[in-house]
Symmetry: C2
Subunit: 203 residues, 2 copies
């Protein structure tokens, strides 16, 4: 009946972080219960104290990864009263910068992705996040176009959103896997240039 939770008891988060580190370095195959425990500096039994199964740990790690990505993407976007164009700019810049652009993020993403086709609960975690991003980008693009009095149909603006989303994803992949090719900010610059070309608006 007591609130005995020791302050600074972040073991659960530590285990999730250890799982992500382990998956990043060893792959999902290599991420056994014992190795994850090693990464966290504990013994394997402890994982079952915080998670009902290894699968649940994996799911928690996936959810934590997506949350971190989306949090980074939303930086400087959400509560500001800035014009749509400026928020769109910032969104593109954020998604094409560290930490979203990094080998770690893309590696973790790739490791988890196949699980979302096998495990229903993993699929649910992914689709939750997917809805979240498209719900950011699409209205931003529509508002930007309206501000510039680009009169196009909803269908057209939806197509533009798909295109810009694709550019972001593709540059994210390339920048994450061959980051040495790009100087600081170059990737975001290319993203903005391409989005400008798609929308026929200087961002």
């Amino acid at each position: 009946m007591s609130t005995k939770r020791r302050e600074g008891n972040n073991r659960r988060q530590e285990l999730i972080e250890a799982a992500l580190d382990c998956i990043e370095n060893e792959g999902l195959q290599g991420a056994t219960v014992r190795k994850v425990a090693d990464y966290a500096g504990v013994t394997n039994g402890l994982i079952r104290f915080y998670f009902s199964s290894k699968d649940e740990l994996i799911r928690a790690a996936y959810a934590a990864l997506l949350e971190k990505i989306y949090a980074s993407a939303r930086v400087n976007i959400e509560d500001s009263q800035l014009p749509a164009k400026e928020r769109l700019r910032r969104f593109i810049e954020a998604t094409l910068s560290f930490p979203i652009v990094s080998p770690r993020t893309v590696l973790l993403w790739a490791n988890f992705l196949p699980l979302t086709y096998i495990d229903e609960q993993m699929a649910a975690i992914r689709s939750d996040g997917y809805v979240e991003t498209t719900n950011i980008l699409q209205p931003l693009i529509k508002a930007t176009l309206e501000d510039h009095e680009q009169l196009i149909t909803d269908q057209e603006s939806a197509r533009s959103a798909v295109k810009i989303n694709a550019v972001i994803d593709g540059l994210w992949l390339e920048g994450s896997m061959a980051g040495y090719k790009f100087e600081n900010g170059e990737l975001a610059q290319m993203g903005l240039e391409t989005a400008s070309a798609i929308l026929a608006i200087e961002l």
Copy 2:
């Protein structure tokens, strides 16, 4: 000293195909030697007769996947004397159509990708193919620009290549994972539109 190879002895290819099927359906974790053998309709011991280890089978399967992808991408491109613009168009259309655009391809790609960061030989297989594609797209773009007397620096055309490559990758991901959203040819159409916007040339 005899060429005793029985005609129609495609067991090795069958095993590779079975491995890909198994990875697609069960994930890399689920692709055990025994399950792959099940997919091929043989017993597990046979795999070691054709491959020195499970890892070698995985590598062969990865190489086979990439070869198939690149072969599909090169369709109607290589030996033709068509103008650069037309070949660029066809390249974009091919990479944004079945079978490259499919859940199977993207799933297999995602499953293998992390291994290329862990296993050196897998990394070599990937970089071989990577060089191959960039060596197709980049000259095609440069030639197209020159045909249209777009006078830009090599650096500029290289940047355009990165952008178009990103659009292709992003649309490929989206189309493969949410294919129900797009009608036949719509994805390729969007790819061409975006590439046109990037190059300021009607493709």
